[in-house]
């Protein structure tokens, strides 16, 4: 038994209740963050946190902390017990997960786990050196995170996951390009290649033109469609949002609303992503079809939302980390199926006349029920003319109904890319979206920002 699992067992033992659930998150990570081609904010984090949920009758209380000696655990348990005692009965309170058969997944790479500050600084240096004369901004990070879940109902398991990300903005005063790579094994990350890709894009973005607002055909590269899909998914594919009638799916399940080329799943078992075996309540992960050939199929659930839904709805294994539990079940392993296009160039040719978007910035959910989002493009926006990439464009303000973007899809690339979606707030929880590049018949530009560059 490792330290995290042993700690979770001790936490359950420290609490008194009809049922107890403990989640331990242990993290060791390093961020070599750079700006202007200099490492300027290097951060090393080591932490262990314990979350306890105590159920007494139909009452539940939660507490979390990072003092893990006996006195600390007992104090933590006492606070959870006090919270349970202070709460009124909840008739839909779910029983914590019991023992179950867990899927075996990849996602733990010893080489990645062994990376130390010297390695992280070296890999950041590789990115800096590869960009040549264009200053670069970004980071190399790697981490090892262990999640252990133990319940008094018989579930006891832990999973150690590794992750690594190289992310680079290459930029001058008037030009900028962006690239990133994320994987659970550092051998699949090449910071120099990331920086070279970003610099290559940047070199094509000087002297950007403006574009009249309006509706355009467009190609969204993987970083752009990954972020757009993730923001759309937070409300759309959450079982809680469906119950609360703030999801685009409300009243539409089983209906075809997207192009038949569009199939979306949440699949934490896919070794091409950042695999997970079970969720933060101890429920096994499973592949959940969300959209199949354009037909809206379903959402993701945790124990609490499934209990409220009734009708034999079961958790799909999508309980969020304790710090995010308030927001209900969330899809953190989105996967948009690839298409038949052999290259992005082929998508550009399909679009013919339109725009190409490398990356999005600061998305906002304007109207969740209709799936309307706004945001900006940045670091590589181009005009498409005569089926080819043409002149660079200034940053564009867009306001789109994502269902409209997905309703007319001329094509998707066969190849998919794992786009990093984590900003690494709170305890480390790396996640990403596995996506191809996508062509759409409709992308609404509603304003103009500044030119590329910093």
């Amino acid at each position: 038994m490792t330290r995290a699992l042993e700690l979770a067992e001790r936490a359950v033992a420290a609490a008194e209740g009809d049922a107890v659930e403990a989640v331990v998150q242990a993290e060791r990570s390093g961020f070599a963050r750079f700006a202007g081609s200099e490492v300027h904010q290097p951060t090393l984090i080591e932490n262990e946190s314990v979350f306890i949920r105590v159920i007494r009758g139909q009452r539940a209380g939660e507490a979390a902390g990072n003092r893990v000696d006996e006195e600390g655990l007992r104090g933590l348990a006492a606070r959870a017990e006090e919270a349970a005692d202070a709460s009124p009965d909840d008739p839909d309170l779910p029983t914590p997960a019991g023992a179950s058969q867990l899927p075996e997944v990849a996602g733990n790479d010893p080489e990645t786990a062994a990376l130390g500050p010297d390695d992280q600084a070296r890999l950041a240096a590789n990115a800096i050196a590869a960009a040549g004369d264009i200053p670069v901004y970004g980071f190399f990070t790697s981490g090892v995170a262990t999640v252990a879940v133990v319940t008094s109902m018989g579930f006891s398991a832990e999973q150690t996951s590794t992750d690594a990300t190289a992310l680079t903005l290459a930029a001058t005063d008037s030009a900028s390009g962006y690239a990133e790579q994320t994987a659970w094994a550092v051998r699949d990350i090449d910071p120099a290649a990331v920086a070279s890709e970003a610099a290559e894009i940047a070199r094509r973005t000087a002297n950007a033109d403006e574009l009249a607002p309006g509706s355009y055909r467009a190609v969204l590269g993987p970083y752009a469609i990954g972020e757009l899909l993730q923001y759309f998914a937070f409300d759309t594919f959450s079982g809680l949002a469906l119950l609360e009638e703030r999801s685009y799916l409300s009243g539409k399940l089983g209906e075809r609303h997207f192009d038949e080329k569009v199939s979306i799943a949440d699949d934490a078992l896919d070794p091409r992503g950042l695999p997970k075996s079970f969720d933060f309540e101890g429920v096994p992960k499973q592949r959940v079809p969300l959209v199949e050939n354009g037909v809206l199929r379903g959402a993701v659930w945790d124990l609490s939302s499934a209990a409220r839904a009734g009708d034999l709805q079961r958790s799909t294994g999508h309980a969020s980390p304790p710090a995010l539990r308030r927001w209900g079940p969330l899809p953190f392993a989105l996967s948009l199926a690839g298409g038949e296009a052999e290259s992005v160039d082929e998508l550009v040719e399909l679009v013919g006349d339109g725009i190409y978007i490398t990356r999005l910035h600061y998305l906002g959910i304007v109207e969740p029920r209709q799936g309307i989002l706004t945001g900006m493009t940045r670091d590589g926006t181009f005009r498409i003319r005569d089926g080819k990439l043409a002149e660079p464009l200034v940053n564009l303000r867009f306001t789109v109904a994502v269902p409209d973007v997905l309703a007319d899809v001329p094509g998707l690339t066969r190849q998919t890319t794992l786009a990093n979606e984590a900003a690494f707030y709170d305890e480390r929880f790396a996640y990403g979206a596995l996506v191809p590049a996508i062509a759409t018949g409709r992308f609404d530009v509603t304003g103009l920002g500044g030119p590329p560059g910093v």
Partner: protein
Amino acid sequence: MRALCEEAVAAALAAGASYADARAIVRRSQLISTKNRRVDQVDDLESEGIGVRVLVDGAWGFACDRRLDQAGSRAAADRATTFAKAAPGAHDRALAPVEPVEGEYRTPREQDPIDVPLGDKIALCFAAEEAMQNGDIKVTTAFVRAMRERKVLVSSEGSAIEQDFVECGGGIDAMASDGEISQLRSYPSAHEGSSAGAGWEYVLGLGLEREAPRVAEQAAALLRAPVCPPATTTAVIDAEQMVLQVHESTGHPTELDRIYGTEAAYAGTSFIGPGDLGSLRYGSEWMNITADPTTPRGVGTFGYDDEGVPAERTPIVEAGILRGFLTSRETAAKIGSGRGGSMRADGWSRMPLVRMTNLHLEPGEGTLEDLLADVDDGIYFETNKSWSIDDKRLNFQFGTQVAWEIKQGKLGRLLRDATYTGVTPVFWGSLDAVAGPESWVLYGLTNCGKGQPGQHAHVSHGAAPARFRNVQVGVAPS
């Protein structure tokens, strides 16, 4: 805690650091929320640890450890020094001088919010929820939060500072749905309510139960309201939405680290250059913005920032001209002006960054009714719903939960899904009135994100309703 910080600083110096500071923090926070008259969350979090920041040959290093003991402080110091030494290339970094200080600060409070029994907090939420029930309301939510934090900072330059903070806040949401559309209404703010650096008396003063019926009625009424039409018109914006307008379009762009590019890959940069200080016309003569970490009840209020710089009020924009930046000791030294004072870290496990403290739109004169009276045709916007701004903080688009037509100086029809958009200096240049001190409200936000790894900051903003001419409203997919 002070002894552990001193030990960490000594260990870092012994390992080769030319400068070191250590922050030890013990934080306890609670979040209690109820939804549809059931307890949704009763969460009680306690976190403690030490963060050590060092300079070695001009390169920064930062490391942290959850153990508040001798082993933890030494380990953090050693790892921070190792990481700084590993930074590739040559580094040249200076810090603006600050007088070493032995100081203390304590948030004024009548009742420590953590000490209020959980049962009382749940009862308060239930009472507010009960008052929101009506036929069109699908989801009601009420929530309160409380925080207590003890922080000790020791630097190798001789500063030793102990600060004792409390915060608390709360809010309510009502979501109406008719099966086709859904509409949300919140009070006092859409961003997890509003918080203050104060005791529990602040939460009681919010009057959540008192405001609940109005919030629910407006959410229901929005189901039957028309969508805000597209137009270029006069916009009158309430204090709550002005808070976010100030935050996004004047707070972040005046952070000097962004201006120097250190956030370029994530949060972005700024349309402002270091040389714009004192000359850039940011907005009209009615625009006065002040950074003030001494504001009573601010969640960005402190005695000293996380570099030990004493809190002081700083003009950022005066009569529309850029007069100041939010700075650290490093960026102040780089620009050759000021001494820092805006460095803040999200707990013990993150490196301090330049952050907003409390940033205010100073009041003008008159009332909201006075602002409306001078509008023949326009839109009145209230309570933020959506927000987005570009990486240079120029092009923004905001949506509000509710809006009303303004006709001949009076509020007319209720409107839903209202948005407005603009370009920062053009928009602020169209400001022609800010309501007076009686209409000025202080809001505390707890969700300002920045940095990699990500950090949340708690910042307060005061604002009064304001009026802007020639604003593009009603943005929607074509």
